[in-house]
């Protein structure tokens, strides 16, 4: 039978094409456009070539922000993944405790980012904040607006509070999908609690853990709202992560060219690191096969 081409089909695909074009392709191309030109407004553009890229890649300001961001993501992952697994392991599997725990765990995830920031901003204040006031009355001179270490601690604790639930819920989903017979078999073998975790639960959770690590990495690497609300990137530049730096450059200083170049570099870094994570974690799976 001869193949018939029905060009009307394109109309059905059109809405999606338009949506993707406007939401992803066109903005990205605009950024590319800005990154290789210079403008002083009035819709006048001058060719700049790779100047902006060179400027960004040689500026210590960019490398400092990148370095801060990498440390932040590493710390976040190092705390949230083990903590999430630990909480998921100890959550009840039957009975009334299940919905209670699930709702409690989901609560932080339901709060908008800027609200989370505001909550912690107030919570940590020395004069009226519960946490800040309490710590200071204990004799710990805590002040996140003056001490970079305190600012970091606040941002990290806030993120852990906000996002560990996501890891917990993913791990929990992985855990409840393990048939009871596995635990029974392990009991009959006399396997220790650690062996059950290491040889049954962890391998069975592997896939959801990969998703959890990827999501937490990407989100923490793009973090903006919470530190912006709490510390505004300070004190000094101590909590100025890439995205905060980028916004300062683009909106604050109106350096559109360098900001566009930085956006592209930023995007490529996330893409590259996500790819590395994915490959490493699926590689160990493939080796076993």
């Amino acid at each position: 039978m001869e193949k018939t081409w029905n060009n009307k089909a394109w109309f059905l695909v059109l809405p999606v094409l338009l949506l993707v074009a406007f939401s992803a392709v066109i903005p990205l191309m605009t950024v590319v456009n800005y990154s290789v030109q210079d403008t002083f407004g009035n819709n006048q553009f001058f060719w700049a070539g790779t100047d902006w890229f060179v400027e960004i890649l040689t500026s210590p300001r960019f490398w400092d922000a990148l370095w801060r961001n990498l440390i932040f993501s590493a710390v976040i992952l190092a705390i949230e993944v083990p903590l999430g697994i630990l909480i998921a392991l100890n959550m009840p599997k039957h009975g009334l405790g299940v919905p209670v725990c699930l709702v409690l765990m989901a609560l932080p995830l339901l709060i908008p980012w800027n609200v989370v920031g505001t909550i912690w901003q107030v919570f940590g204040r020395v004069d009226i904040g519960l946490l800040g006031y309490f710590l200071n009355s204990l004799g710990i001179s805590y002040n996140y607006t003056q001490n970079p270490t305190h600012a970091w601690a606040t941002v990290i604790v806030m993120d852990v509070w906000h996002w560990t639930s996501l890891v917990v819920l993913l791990c929990y989903a992985g855990l409840v999908s393990i048939p009871d017979a596995y635990y029974q078999a392990a009991r009959i073998d006399g396997a220790s609690r650690w062996s059950v975790f290491r040889y049954i639960q962890l391998p069975k959770m592997k896939r959801v853990l990969l998703i959890a690590v990827l999501l937490r990495f990407m989100d923490s690497f793009m973090i903006y709202t919470e530190p912006f609300v709490v510390t505004g990137g300070g004190p000094g530049n101590s909590t100025t992560f890439l995205s905060i730096d980028l916004v300062k450059m683009a909106i604050g200083q109106f350096d559109l060219g360098p900001a566009a170049a930085m956006s592209i570099i930023y995007f490529l870094i996330i893409l590259l690191l996500s790819w590395v994570f994915y490959t490493v974690m699926t590689q160990s799976d493939a080796e076993q096969k």
């Binding site: 596995y182 078999a185 009991r187 006399g190 076993q288």
Partner: protein
């Protein structure tokens, strides 16, 4: 020797296992036969010590082990699902019970290789279970059970998830594999034919109660009651309620079946007769058959056999006929019942009235 003494298990006020006495000897194969939810798995869990009985005690070689946790009892169990450590190789999976027991590397290596050889797993020792076929995965689980050298080996429908061919193959090997070890084997199954093929002893289970325990062939040939006979029949047992009067069994005063010699001793009055579907024939094959008029319903052809569903005096019967018979629906035909295999049960209690003398 494993003894269950008046053991029962209730969950939320409901009996999962009714008070049961059961004694299993070392070196024997014991089949737990019963439909789904009859309590086979619950009973196994009590035997293993995974659950504590609500009442009664469990004894092993005379010692009371009721409260002893499962890991101290030296029990091995194989499940319907293929349960292995997903991240470990087949070799490590088989070695795992011995590693926990703290055996030395040389012994472990020797035992693993022996078990792998026995279960034809030698070429797959380096693979992980997920890269094996279902049959190989279950062989791995069986190998783990073997190397453990347990006193009690519980096999909970181990072949149910395997395809037909593999099932036949493994079923044949299983008794041989475990024969040498001298342990007690318990094998749960829903299929009467599997119980007969495995031999040994059978405990028939119905709604959490053991209805009969004895040599498999004895339970099959001489069921103690109607329930046991029904558990041990696939396709389902044929039954009919009638009245004995003198030399014949009557339905509404009409003589239908002459009383065979082995049932001569039962008293006049109401009785339930039962027989296996393969004791009904399309043709009079020997001098012991009684012709009966029945109406055909559906016939199913399964391989080289035919299941012919019949309506006899308002009862649904099944005939298992050899060969392929494509019989028209809704027709009066004459079927022949071999009356030597009739079983007779008390109509109100369901207890067997006399033992059937003939081999099935």
């Amino acid at each position: 020797m494993l003894e269950l003494r008046n053991v029962s298990k209730t969950v939320a006020g409901e009996y999962h296992i009714r008070p049961t006495d059961l004694t299993l000897k070392r070196g024997t194969l014991n089949v737990l036969l019963g439909p789904t939810l009859a309590g086979k798995t619950s009973l196994m869990r009590l035997m293993a010590g995974l659950d504590k009985p609500t009442e009664g005690t469990v004894h092993f070689d005379g010692a009371d082990v009721t409260g002893m946790p499962v890991q101290k009892r030296n029990v091995a169990m194989v499940y319907q699902q293929f349960i292995n450590y997903p991240a470990l190789s087949v070799y490590e999976n088989i070695a795992s019970p011995m590693r926990i027991a703290g055996k030395d590397a040389g012994t472990i290596d020797r035992e693993v290789k022996k078990a792998a050889e026995l279960l034809k797993l030698t070429p797959y020792l380096d693979r992980t279970p997920l890269n094996l076929s279902g049959g190989q995965q279950q062989r791995t689980a069986l190998a783990r059970a073997i190397v453990k050298n347990a006193n009690l080996v519980l096999l909970d429908e181990p072949l149910a998830n395997l395809d037909y061919k593999l099932r036949e193959e493994l079923r044949e090997e299983l008794p041989k594999i475990f024969a040498a070890s001298g342990a007690i084997f318990v094998y749960a199954t829903t299929e009467p034919s599997e119980a007969l093929l495995l031999g040994g002893n059978t405990a028939a289970l119905h709604e959490g109660a053991v209805t009969q325990f004895g040599r498999t062939v004895d339970v099959y040939r001489r069921p103690a009651d109607l329930v046991t006979a029904e558990i041990f029949a696939d396709p389902p047992l044929n039954t009919i309620a009638l009245t004995r009067s003198g030399h014949a069994f009557l339905i509404e005063g009409e003589p239908v079946i002459p009383v065979p010699a082995h049932l001569a001793s039962i008293a006049d009055g109401p009785v339930t007769l039962a027989f296996q579907p393969h004791h009904l024939f399309l043709h009079a094959a020997n001098g012991h058959t009684t012709p009966l008029k029945a109406r055909t319903l559906v016939s199913e052809i399964a391989g080289s056999e035919s299941f012919i569903h019949l309506d006899f005096a308002g009862r649904r019967w099944v005939m298992l006929a050899h060969g392929i018979h494509d019989i028209e629906q809704d027709r009066e035909i004459v079927v022949h019942l071999d009356s030597r295999h009739l079983m007779a049960f008390n109509q109100s209690t369901g207890k067997a009235l006399v033992a059937t003398p003939l081999a099935a």
